[in-house]
Amino acid sequence: MYFLRRFLFLIPLTWVIVTLSFFLVRVAPGGPFDRERRPASPAVERALATKYHLDESLGSQYLRFLGLRWERQPDGSWQRAPGGLIAGDLGLSLKYRNHSVTDIIRQGLPVSLALGGAAFLFALGFGIPLGVYTAVRRGHTGDWLGSLVALLFICIPGFVIGPLLILVFALQTGWFPVGLWGTPRHVVLPMIALGLYFGGRVARLTREGMSQALLSEFVRTARAKGVSELGVLLRHAFPIAVMPVVSYSGPMLADLLTGSFVVENIFQIPGIGVFLVNSSLGRDYTMVVGLVLLYAVLLLVLNLLVDFTYSLLDPRVRHE
């Protein structure tokens, strides 16, 4: 019931977020058609604004965006302006004027999903074992070395890791392509570059969760009952230990799936991460709002899933 209510609540929440972003991007100085060179005449400038309805008041632009604007037709009747959010139409990108926003998302999202999904699995795949290991070896050399590795991944940014990976594994050895997209081999280096950072964080969070769990009363109980150390770890401590990671998974996954500007940039991958940054910088209003919508829905749904997982993992968490 609680989750059904939260799920239904996503709709007004998304609306608030989209509305906020709609007005926020229009507050920033400059507009989509400001260029290094002025258009030939004010008439051209006006025509450009009219074409994309930027000459209308903010309110009517907003109604048009939602698809709730009625316009007077030449014959005197009133008709709803075509398109709009309620029709599932996010409009044309103002920067890439020959593409609609949905068109760009449709082409770029699968790429970002594949890369982000791979990086997520990679991050969990090495982060959780590393975290468990360092927690178990807490205070010993193993912990020290493992923590060092995890922390290095956290504080070496993608724009350093990426070029290094390319230098060694692409240009010098020729094992992987230096960039672009297309075959499974193209996924490997960007996946690592993207996943290492998140994996490092997962390792730290798992280590903390595991240390907590190992000190908790029921793990002590289990030990006292003679459950094998591995059994204690996997069956009793792990479900608790992984909770901070689950909590972090929602935002992490949303970040990963909507693409990463840095990694897509370095490997020249046609995902949507580059678009989010470039459209904000380029004041591509329609594109920003479309991508915020996508990001918000993904994040909200994932966070809901996380909370849901939480309540399954830990029955003590009650939602009344």
Partner: protein, 585 residues
């Protein structure tokens, strides 16, 4: 205790079911993306070009960006096209043209075999309609200012007249187009090769409106036709079988990649995934000094100047002496030798030397530009510094005392050139502090803020640059006319405007150049609303032993059609043209 034990297994099973389900759903999301990989076993294109940033539009009339222009130039052609070697106009859809004795009427003769890629012939009406569409302000073509040279063009572009047939172009017969000009315009054939004057398919535009370029198949008037277009990935082109010169088009299939990162572009090139790095912006400036020594990286002069704008509407920059003092102390040689490092020439003028045969006048601080060796340069800079200090004192700020704090704005972020702007700013800041005692704050801003502040004159000093569109000094000098939308300094000078107007009406070339030189002297020696720094040097990369048909030229025009793979040791051959055609300038 008991209840705890009974809890554990159930927790475990619920954990297993939920967490595993969670993972599976994630995996599922990831698998959704799998179709995007692994199923494109397309063969490599014959030629892969890295074209820089993603193309914004391929409508030749409304495009503004250089990457857009390059790829669209391969798809759409006008009455003329550009020679890959010189960058000057050569016959395109028109095989020749006649000029009236007063230089104001051009008659173009179309080819009988000119056709769109979908087979429809191209006739005089198509040319006339295309020009009218481009000039029509409702098309919203930023560059329609080039129709100001054509009779009636200014009235149409500014919206004063809505009668499109008032544009000075008409179809005399299906194969003859007549263009009437306001002034004798010797560079008209060069203008006719520009994208804004290209021929587009009327029926497609009338049917699909602004989105006509998404039509499939897209009727193209140029050497290549569009196969596919994936944003931020690549545009795929194929030889247009109906192109009048199809036999001389160099490659069957061309992939045009787009991307933001110079480092990635260089990596792709070094790994052999890209054959031709066409955009200088896509070559990491940090490596300029190393790259220019490689045999496959080629530098060339082109029409571009890097300068600094003063806001002359703000005190104390309204005083020419202040602007002169600041201009004199900048160590331009240090900038080209240590920062840009492509062999750029420091300059004291706006127009690059040799623009359409014009030589710019010496500007302020020209003695340093001329200095042949290090000691002569040091001496010249010493003289200039002393002069600058004198000028600043005369303006009321001896030793920089009392000079208000001010900022230097530049665009940061984005492509590889951004760090260069920062580094130039740091050099300027150092020079002003050490030589004049001025405190200048550096203000990096992102691109749109930069543009918006520049056009609203919301700055003290700001980075500027200009790339010429055609080979004539007016492509630079028109910038600082009082009513120019690109002036952006607040500087207005009646004498300057009058000299340019006189030059426009002057049929004699050498007298015209004298008038332009006089005007430019006002701009760069006496009034200095701008501080010219250096002339750009172009840089591109391709392997000369494998490719031919790419040449350095002043307008940075490198038509895709002439690029071909070199076949065993043959000498470079220019694509067969008819250079003897009448009217070649």
């Amino acid at each position: 205790m008991g209840c705890l034990q009974s809890l554990l297994p159930s927790r475990w099973s619920s954990f297993r079911s939920s967490f595993v389900r969670f993972l599976i759903s994630v995996l599922g999301v990831g698998l959704l993306g799998v179709p995007s990989i692994g199923c494109r076993p397309e063969p490599r294109a014959d030629l892969i070009i890295h074209n820089g940033m993603e193309v914004e539009t391929i409508d030749p009339h409304v495009l503004t960006g250089l990457p857009d222009g390059r790829v669209t130039g391969a798809m759409f052609e006008g009455l003329t096209r550009y020679d890959p070697e010189t960058g000057r106009a050569i016959p395109g859809l028109a095989h020749s043209w006649d000029i009236s004795p007063d230089g104001r009427v051009y008659t173009f003769h179309l080819r009988t075999n000119a056709a769109f890629s979908t087979g429809e012939p191209i006739r005089a009406d198509d040319v006339v309609w295309s020009w009218q569409r481009a000039a029509d302000p409702t098309t919203a073509a930023d560059y329609s200012g080039f129709f100001f040279y054509v009779e009636g063009g200014q009235a149409i572009v500014t919206g004063a007249s809505t009668n499109l047939s008032g544009l000075g172009i008409r179809a005399v017969d299906p194969l003859t187009v007549e263009v009437r000009l306001v002034n004798p315009t010797p560079f008209l054939p060069d203008l006719c090769g520009m994208r804004i004057m290209a021929v587009v398919p009327r029926w497609a535009v009338e049917k699909y409106g602004d989105q006509w370029v998404r039509m499939d198949p897209l009727p193209c008037s140029g050497a290549y036709e569009l196969l596919s277009w994936r944003p931020n990935d690549r545009i795929r082109l194929r030889r247009n079988p109906h192109y009048w010169d199809a036999a001389n088009v160099g490659c069957e299939r061309v992939d045009v990649l787009s991307g933001d990162s110079p480092a990635a572009a260089l990596n792709l090139y070094l790994a052999g995934d890209v054959d031709f790095l066409i955009d200088k912006v896509m070559i990491p400036p940090e490596l300029n000094d190393v790259l220019r020594k490689r045999p496959d990286f080629h530098t060339f002069q082109y029409l571009g100047t890097y300068f600094v704008r003063f806001n002359v509407t703000r005190k104390p920059f309204d005083d020419p002496r202040v602007r002169q003092a600041i201009s004199l102390v900048l160590d331009k040689r240090r900038i080209v030798e240590r920062i840009t490092r492509l062999g750029e020439q420091p300059t004291s003028a706006l127009t690059p030397p040799g623009t359409g045969g014009y030589q710019p006048p010496p500007g302020l601080g020209h003695n340093a530009v001329l200095a042949s060796d290090a000691s002569a340069y040091a001496a010249a800079m010493e003289t200039n510094r002393a002069e600058a200090q004198r000028l600043l004192a005369a303006a009321g700020f001896p030793g920089g005392k009392g000079f208000p704090p001010f900022t230097y704005m530049f665009n940061a972020g984005g492509g590889g050139g951004s760090r260069m702007h920062e580094n130039v700013g740091i050099e300027l800041q150092t020079a002003l502090r050490e030589d004049l005692g001025l405190q200048m704050e550096l203000r990096p801003v992102e691109w749109k803020t930069y543009l918006s502040d520049m056009s609203r004159l919301n700055f003290d000093m700001i980075r500027g640059s200009w790339i010429g569109d055609y080979q004539d000094p007016t492509t630079f000098l028109d910038l600082f006319l009082a009513d120019s939308g690109n002036n952006r300094t607040g500087w207005k000078n009646a004498r300057y405007d009058a000299l340019l107007a006189a030059a426009a009406a002057e049929p004699d070339v050498s007298r015209r150049f004298d008038q332009l030189r006089e005007a430019e002297t006002l701009l760069v020696r006496d009034e200095v609303p701008i501080l010219p720094v250096f002339n750009y040097v172009g840089l591109f990369a391709f392997d000369r032993t494998k490719w031919e048909g790419i040449y350095a030229n002043l307008t940075d025009e490198h038509p895709f059609r002439s690029i071909r793979r070199r076949t065993g040791g043959a000498a470079p051959v220019r694509s067969a043209l008819s250079p003897a055609a009448a009217g070649t300038p």
